[in-house]
Amino acid sequence: MLGRLMHGERNLTELAAPLRMSFPAASKHVRVLEGARLVRRRIVGRTHLCRIDGKPLGQANQWLENYRQIWEAHFQRLDDLLDELKAQEKQPRSTQGDPR
């Protein structure tokens, strides 16, 4: 949902639709994000407009750490793959058809 808000203010319907969420579920999700001060909501008539909240300094660090952990998970899998590729390179290539 925060991904949707990267590109500016959106109303609840716009946020819910591509995520195949019901309106109440989307509203609840936004409420939690509001509570965490990640999202700010303003109400214009009957429309609830949401946008990413400007972040206090401590929160910025938390965002960074969370982001880091997600990418660390990618890279740990890459570590494992690289170990496998290194082992493959050490094996003799006699079984390969490559004339080199």
């Binding site: 195949r20 570590d79 590729l85």
Partner: protein, 162 residues
Amino acid sequence: MKHLLEVTTPSDVEIVMTRTFDAPRHLVWNAMTKPELIRRWLYAPEGWTMTVCEGDAKVGGSFRWAWNGPDGKPGLTISGVNREVVPPEKVVHTETMALGDGVPVGELLATVVLTEHEGKTHLRMTLLFPSKEARDGALASGMDRGVRAGYEQLDEILAAMQ
């Protein structure tokens, strides 16, 4: 030895990631540019399935990665075009993201630089966003995942923020 990823924000519109890998550069290059290897490490949340992983590591070549969500329907597509490809040391590519079967939104410029030293490879990945809001949204998307994981992780994060 364990290498840790470092994430920094040198400006309002950038995210920079640096990390070292215990492997020579040509292997890291292969793992990051060959689709059949990319799909083995590019992380997807539990219940998600990678359905498309294709790419052409040439200047002007495009790439596309797509996942189905836990409901079996299109969940996320990341695609882009290679602007600069210098094997085995540098790639610059554009990157857009589409949720569900929606249209791609936003565009960032990713620069990956690999340097080798004594058999190890140092990675520096710079993500350049069109605005601070886009950059913040990308950073915050990790928090969003915590929310989806049943609010538990977010509770911990909130407790840590007190």
